[in-house]
C-alpha cells in the first residue's frame, strides 16, 4: 500500500499513529541538523520532519538528496507541531519520518508549483500536466466535475435521460464551419463533427424520449477569438409536450440549485426581461443586473432632441447613465473613460459628462449649450443627486446603446460592482424571430430556422416579419449568456412559411433540412429546448470569466494544443489510405 492517509487529513486526532504517506516534495527547509519537507498531494500538504537526534544517519543522508517535485513515500509517527500553522487543516501536526522511499526523482520543473507561480501562460500550457498540480488549476477542474455531477443528478431526478448522440455525423450548412473527418472505408466521403446535437435531440423528441439531456462535446471550426475553443462542452436539453414556461421552470430550477450548492444562497425566481427591455435599459441582450446604471434616454421616444446642441439634436438617440458618487472625479479620470469609448473596438466619437457637484451646482463638458437650469432638468431625468456624475452619448440607436453598454460594463468592473460571489441570473425572452441581413438583403433566423414565432405574432409574418417575436429565450448570469433555446416549430405549414421568409426555395429547404422535415411527417410532438455553454457556465459560477482555466487541456487561440503539438502533419501513407492529397495554396 502506498499510503494509509492522504496529505490533507491528519490532525491531532491521529497523534502517535504510525502512518504512511505519498506525494510530491513541495518545499525543503534544511537547517542542517533538522530538515522539514512539505509533502503535497491532491488533498493537501503534510509537514515531514527529520532530525539528527531522532532520525538515523542514513535517513538524514537520503533526505538531503531530495529535490522539488521528487515523488516519495514515507512512514512515520504523527506528532504535535511546535509552531502550528492555522491556515492548513494539517497545520497542528507533523510526521516524524522513520522510513523514506524515493518513488521517482524529478528534474527541476520549468516553473514553481505554487498557487502564485513564476511561469507565464505559454510555458504553463506547454507543461499543462505540471500546471494541474497547482491548487488554482486543480481546484477548477474539481469544481467543474462537481457542477457536472450536480447537473446530471438534478436532471436525472426530474426524469431526464442522458442519451449519447453520435460524434461522426453529416456536414450541414449551418452557421459556423464544420470540422470534417475523411472516411477511409468510403473514399471521397466525409463525416462532420457536430456543432451541436440539435438535429438528434429533435429526433429524440420525435422518438418519444420526451426529456433528454446530454453533457456533450461540440465542435466549431471558427477563426478563434480570445477564449473560444474549437471543442467545447454543452449541456444540451430538449423536452416534448411542453410550452416555453415549462422549459424556463425546469432550467431555472437547475441553475438555482447550482447557485445554492456553491453559495448556500437561494436566488429565488429569476427576473424576466424582454429583449426589447434589455436593449433599452442596458443596451445589451445579456445585461449584468448585479448593479444599476440603467440607461436613461434624453431624446423623446422616436423623435430627435431639440436642445440647441447639434450633436444631440442630429442623433437618433441621446442616452446616458448616472454614476453615483463620482462627481469628484478629476478631469484625467473622466478623460480616461472618454478615451475608452473612443477606442476603435467601441467606436464612439465622443461623450458628454455632467457633474452634479456636492454643493448642488452643476457643470458639464457642454456648458456652452446647456445652462445650469438645463443641466438640472437632465439631472432630474437621471434621478441624480449631488455628488453624482452623468455620462451621455448620442448617435444611431443600436450603435449608441452598444457603446454605452460597453462603458457601463467597464464602470461596473472599475467600481467593483461586478462581484464574483454574487449571482444575478435572469431570463431574456421574446427575442426577434428574424434578423435583417444588409449584405444578403434578406432575413436570417436569429436563433435557428425551427424556432417558433410567438403565437400572437404569427400574423406579422405576412405583414411585418421583422417585428415578429420568437418563443426564444436566453439565460443570462452576471452579464453572460450562459444558455439559450427556443420552442420549436412542429407544424408543417408554419415551417414552410418560415422557409419562405428566409428566402429558401422548396428545393433548398429540402436539401438543407429535408431529413428532419421527413422525420416530422410521422407525428412530431410539440417540443422545446435549450443548451448551456458548460465551460462558460462553470467559469461564471466559480466567479471567473476565463473559460480556458476550466478546461483540462485547452487549445490556444490558433486552435493548437501546444502541449501535445497538435494538429500536425500525417504520413503520406495515411493520406493515401484516405484518398486525400494536401494542396497548400501559396
Amino acid at each position: 500500500m502506498f499510503r494509509t492517509h492522504t496529505n490533507g487529513e491528519l490532525s491531532l486526532k491521529n497523534l502517535n499513529e504510525e502512518v504512511t504517506l505519498s506525494g510530491w516534495v513541495q518545499t525543503i527547509r534544511d537547517k542542517g541538523f533538522m530538515v522539514w519537507i512539505d509533502l503535497r498531494d491532491r488533498y493537501g500538504i503534510t509537514q515531514l520532519v527529520f532530525d539528527e537526534d531522532r532520525s538515523s544517519q542514513e535517513l538524514m543522508e537520503s533526505v538531503k538528496k531530495l529535490g522539488r517535485e521528487f515523488v516519495i513515500q514515507v512512514t512515520g509517527k504523527v506528532i504535535e507541531r511546535a509552531s502550528k500553522n492555522p491556515k492548513i487543516p494539517t497545520g497542528e501536526i507533523e510526521i516524524l519520518v522513520e522510513k523514506l522511499n524515493l518513488l521517482n526523482a524529478s528534474e527541476l520543473p520549468p516553473f514553481t508549483i505554487e498557487d502564485e507561480t513564476d511561469g507565464g501562460e505559454e510555458l504553463r500550457m506547454k507543461y499543462r500536466y505540471l500546471d494541474i498540480r497547482r491548487n488554482p488549476v486543480k481546484d477548477k477542474l474539481i469544481f467543474r466535475h462537481k457542477m457536472a455531477q450536480k447537473v446530471r443528478n438534478y436532471l436525472s431526478d426530474k426524469g431526464f435521460i442522458e442519451v449519447e448522440t453520435p460524434v461522426l455525423i453529416k456536414s450541414t450548412p449551418e452557421g459556423a464551419r464544420d470540422f470534417v473527418v475523411p472516411s477511409r472505408m468510403n473514399p471521397g466521403q466525409f463525416y462532420a463533427l457536430p456543432q451541436s446535437p440539435q438535429t438528434f435531440k429533435q429526433l429524440l423528441m420525435v422518438g418519444g424520449m420526451d426529456r433528454y439531456f446530454q453533457i456533450v462535446k461540440c465542435f466549431r471550426d471558427e477563426d478563434l477569438r480570445a477564449d473560444r475553443q474549437p471543442e467545447f462542452t454543452q449541456i444540451d436539453c430538449e423536452m416534448a409536450f411542453v410550452e416555453q414556461e415549462d422549459v424556463l421552470e425546469i432550467f431555472e430550477g437547475m441553475t438555482a440549485s447550482l447557485i445554492k450548492e456553491i453559495s448556500g444562497k437561494e436566488v429565488g425566481r429569476f427576473p424576466r426581461m424582454t429583449f426589447d427591455e434589455a436593449m433599452r435599459k442596458y443596451g445589451n441582450d445579456k445585461p449584468d443586473i448585479r448593479f444599476g446604471m440603467e440607461f436613461i434616454p434624453l431624446s423623446p421616444e422616436g423623435k430627435k432632441m431639440e436642445s440647441g446642441f447639434p450633436v444631440f439634436d442630429d442623433a437618433e438617440l441621446v442616452v446616458g447613465i448616472n454614476v453615483e458618487n463620482c462627481a469628484d472625479w478629476t478631469r484625467k479620470q473622466i478623460d480616461g473613460y472618454i478615451d475608452f469609448v473612443k477606442r476603435p473596438q467601441i467606436g464612439a466619437t465622443g461623450m458628454v459628462w455632467i457633474k452634479y457637484q456636492q454643493d448642488g451646482t452643476l457643470t458639464s463638458s457642454v456648458n456652452k449649450f446647456f445652462n445650469e437650469d438645463a443641466l438640472k432638468k437632465i439631472a432630474e431625468k437621471f434621478g441624480a443627486k449631488p455628488g453624482d456624475l452623468m455620462f451621455v452619448m448620442s448617435g444611431d440607436t443600436y450603435k449608441v446603446r452598444t457603446q454605452l453598454s460597453a462603458l457601463r460594463m467597464e464602470l461596473g468592473n472599475q467600481l467593483g460592482l461586478r462581484k464574483g460571489d454574487e449571482f444575478a441570473p435572469l431570463w431574456v425572452v421574446d427575442f426577434p424571430l428574424l434578423e435583417w441581413d444588409e449584405e444578403t438583403g434578406r432575413y436570417h433566423a436569429m436563433h435557428h430556422p425551427f424556432t417558433s414565432p410567438k403565437p400572437e405574432d404569427i400574423h406579422l409574418l405576412e405583414t411585418e416579419p421583422g417585428k415578429a417575436r420568437a418563443n426564444a429565450y436566453d439565460m443570462v448570469l452576471n452579464g453572460n449568456e450562459i444558455g439559450g433555446g427556443s420552442v420549436r416549430i412542429f407544424d408543417k405549414t408554419l415551417q414552410s412559411k418560415m422557409f419562405d421568409l428566409l428566402g429558401l426555395t422548396k428545393e433548398e429547404a429540402e436539401s438543407q433540412f429535408g431529413f428532419l422535415m421527413n422525420a416530422f411527417k410521422y407525428g412530431a410532438p410539440p417540443h422545446a429546448g435549450l443548451a448551456f455553454g458548460f465551460d462558460r457556465l462553470v467559469a461564471i459560477l466559480d466567479g471567473n470569466e476565463v473559460i480556458r482555466d476550466y478546461i483540462a487541456f485547452p487549445k490556444n487561440n490558433s486552435g493548437r494544443d501546444v502541449m501535445i503539438d497538435a494538429p500536425s502533419a500525417i504520413a503520406k501513407e495515411q493520406l493515401d489510405e484516405l484518398s486525400l492529397k494536401v494542396e497548400t495554396r501559396e
Copy 2:
C-alpha cells in the same frame, strides 16, 4: 399545459379526476358507436374512450379522423374500466374524453410501433427515430442512462474526478487506425480523434489528479466486424499511488454495485483466475463461468499420449469436456456439433465423442482404439457419471483450446446455461507481458508498452522475456471482456528496457512516446488504471450481447449512419478551404 399526467401513472386512485394527457395514438378500436384509443408516451399507455351516448357528435367525428401515430391531446375524466387489463399499470381505468386536440397528424409509419414489430433491421435503422418509440429500444436507452448515472455517482463518491480530455488530439502510431481531422487554420495539418484517452489520463496522474475517470467517446477507424462501431464509449479510469490490488478492489466494487442495482443480488468477491489457468480450464481468456464443462486434459502435462490412437498420440494436447446428462443424444445431434467445430471459422478436423450410458456401459466414436476399460478410465478422469456425454479434441495446444472453447460456448448457449439474469464476473490476471509476432519476428506489448511486468518476473526480461507476466488484468462478465487495464511503468530504466524488448530504437521510442516520456521526467507517481467498454458492459448487464441495441444512433457494418446518410461528399469549396483534394484510386 400539454398534460397533467403521463400515460403511465393514472390508476383507480385518480377516479373522477379531470386530467389532460398527450401522446401518440397507438391503436384505435372502432366499434362505430364506441371508439377506444390506446394513447402512448414514454411512460406507458392509457386507454381513451369515446362513445355516442356520452360524447358529443363533433367529438365522435373528430376521433374517427385519427390514425396510428397521430399526436393528440385529450382532456377527460378518469373512470373505472369495465374489462380490466392487469398487465399494465393503468389497466384498471380509462379516460372518458371530453376534449380532443389534434397536435400533429402522421403519415403511416413504415413499420408498426409495437414491442414485436414487422420492420426489418435495415428499415428500423433508417427510421431509428420511430424505432426509439418502441419499448424494447426505448427501455435499453433508459437502462444505459441509469447505468451511466450509477457509475458516475459511485466513482464520484469514491473521490474520483471526471475530467474531460480533448477530442481533437494528435495522431499516434498505436494499434488501430486513427480518424483524422484536417485543420483549416493549419493547412496540411491534422488532428486525430482519440482511440482512448490513455496519454491524457497518464498525464493527469503526473498532474496529481490521483483518481480520474471519464465516460468518453473513443474512435477507431477499423474495418468493422459485426457489432463493432467506429465510435464507442469507454469508462476510462486511472489512479495514482496504487498497486494492482487497489484498482481491482475499487472496480470490483463498482461492478458489484451495478449488478446489485439491476438484480438485487450481491455477487460477493469476484473470483480471480490467472491467464494461464483460464486458458487451461476454458481455452479462453474471458471464460463464461456461469456454467462448468471445464477442460480435462487427457495427454500428460508437456508430453504426448500413448493410447495407440494416432490422432491423439501425435497431438500436442488432447483435451475434452464432459456434457452432463446428454448421453441420450442421437447421432444426428452429435454430428451437428462435430459439424460446428469443423466450420472454417473454428477449423477443427474432427472430434471424438464418448457416451457414458445410463446402464453404465461406455461407447464412443473411437471404439476401434479404446476398449470399454480404456473409455472407463477416461470417464473417470472427466468425473463423468452414467448419462453424460464427453467430447474430446486434439491438436496444437493453442488451436485445440480455442476450438474446444468455441464448442463449450455453443453448448452453453444451446443448453440454456448462459442465463441473461445470472451474473458471473471474474478477474483474469497475470497476462503475459509480451506476445511474439511471427510476421515481424519480434515481441509486441500484449496490453501496451507502458504496462508493468510483475516485479518477480522482471529478471525474466533478460533471459526469457516471453515468459514474463504483466501486472495486467481483465474484468470478465458472462464470457465477455468488459474491462481491462494494467499497472503502468513509471521508472525510466525499466521503460527503456521495455522499448528495447519491443525492438524500438532510442529514436523510435523518442518519436513515438517522447512526449509522455518527457512528462515522466518531472516526478511521475506510481499509477495504474483500466477502461471498460461501456456499450458492451451495458448490453451484458441487461442480459444481452448486441451492443448496437444500446446505442441511440448506431452505424452499420460499413460505418455508415443510414438514417442521416453519413459519411457523404462535401463541397469543393470546403475541400479548398482545407487545402485538400480527393484522389480516389481506381
